[in-house]
Symmetry: C2
Subunit: 301 residues, 2 copies
Amino acid sequence: MRVVIDWSATRLEAALVGGADDVVDRIGTDDGLKRAAGRHEAILDAALAPWRRTHGSLHILAAGMVGGRSGWMEIGYVPAPASLADIARAARHVALANGDRLTLIPGLCDPAAPPFPDVMRGEEAQLVGHGLQRDAVVVMPGNNGKWARIGGGRIAGFRTFVTGELVALLLAHSGLAGIAIRSEGRDWRAFARGLECAAGPDRHGLLTRLFTARTGWLAGQLAPAEIGDYLRGLLIGWEFIEARNAGLWLPGGTLDIVGDDDRVDDYRRAAEGLGLTARVAPDDTALRGALAIGAESMLLA
Amino acid sequence: MRVVIDWSATRLEAALVGGADDVVDRIGTDDGLKRAAGRHEAILDAALAPWRRTHGSLHILAAGMVGGRSGWMEIGYVPAPASLADIARAARHVALANGDRLTLIPGLCDPAAPPFPDVMRGEEAQLVGHGLQRDAVVVMPGNNGKWARIGGGRIAGFRTFVTGELVALLLAHSGLAGIAIRSEGRDWRAFARGLECAAGPDRHGLLTRLFTARTGWLAGQLAPAEIGDYLRGLLIGWEFIEARNAGLWLPGGTLDIVGDDDRVDDYRRAAEGLGLTARVAPDDTALRGALAIGAESMLLA
């Protein structure tokens, strides 16, 4: 049986996949990469033991951080443009002591990014799961989110935007941290006002607009409970403006949104607010992509 | 005798000024505004007691945070464009219980900033100290640094850039915090590489370029000890690019730099690296400005 794992800094999630590519069971533990140092194989062996007892040796497919510099086994980056076969060919197959087989999926780099190659790890599986057949521009929200171009059956290129990380940093540690009040859910009105500030005709850029979260509060125009979503709308909106300036979209166009958390809805609202048609992908693209890359790598082996 | 105070969140600094506007003594304590809540007058009374014993009642001049929302006595903002007389007229004079006289200098706002008025507190005194006679564009580096236009004897307008705060946040709390190694002094070569990345012809903006501090490290092109100054050069450089896009400077022009810490040198290097002539002001503009506003407010009283 195949198992697709998602091993992040703080969690180990695994899905057991049946013959029809159907998920038949799931497990999750708090044994993230941070606490797994030096014990990766033992932790994985123990976590998957129930499935191994029932189904015998497992074929484990892993993309993302587990193959990064602070992961388990470092695997390099395939340069874009890259097809499914290019990625599958670079996958690394490891025979584990317990008889399981581990397939590590490589990351992707874009050597055309100046001055250093841009990188992704895990998003390449999401893009494959989303499909490379149709030409598209795909945004994948995240701490270090990606905008990728799909063209001619390949991932043609991509760039990273540090939007999610900045939102979190500003709300947790900046001068706004002492003012903003966290609230449940989104205040979409505050989000829209932030988006409007990003898209407004001011000649000034992000470094100036970011200060409006404070001046709005000083002017009595932004309540403490509105600051978080105003800032989220402003930064996500500004990501769209930067992406537009880079030629990634035009008003009236279509944007594919790929992700599996509540940021997908933020990006859908931003896209629609800026005149784009948003196409939201199912939330299991990472799993679908890992299976597809695993299958292709078997064919090529 | 006059005393100019600089009361920040963490420090209280005071300068005793003689008849020829000469500083004859200085004191400083760790009784910043943060720990002074509810005890401002007593703390100031005690800190200045030695001078009061020698010279009698003092005339205390104060600009900056002390008049802000989390300061001692809140004083509003004078709207730009504003002359020395406009600022002096809005100053607030308070008779303290011990016989001292306190003159609170107001902040400045720029109502033309969308969507909320931009604000400064303390920098208006620096600008007055620098001089309003000559038309100029003045940059004042800081956590929330300012670019101001001086024209027709007035502070014509200004905008805030959150550059300094972002540099500090990213190095202390982002994914870079675990990688970057702090070093003494500046690595000007790393700073210049960051500046070059900011000024480079990539169509992508700040949210993408910020990720290069990480990709440079991943590519083995940026050493951990270089990341801090690379990021500093990148963000300060990007502030200049945004300021240029907003029409604040053109290559071949002249920029006045006003400040009193080592960021002045960062901005001088950035200005010169981008083809500007930098004019660095003396580091006592805040004191000179407070004295000038105090004197003018006496004339108007």
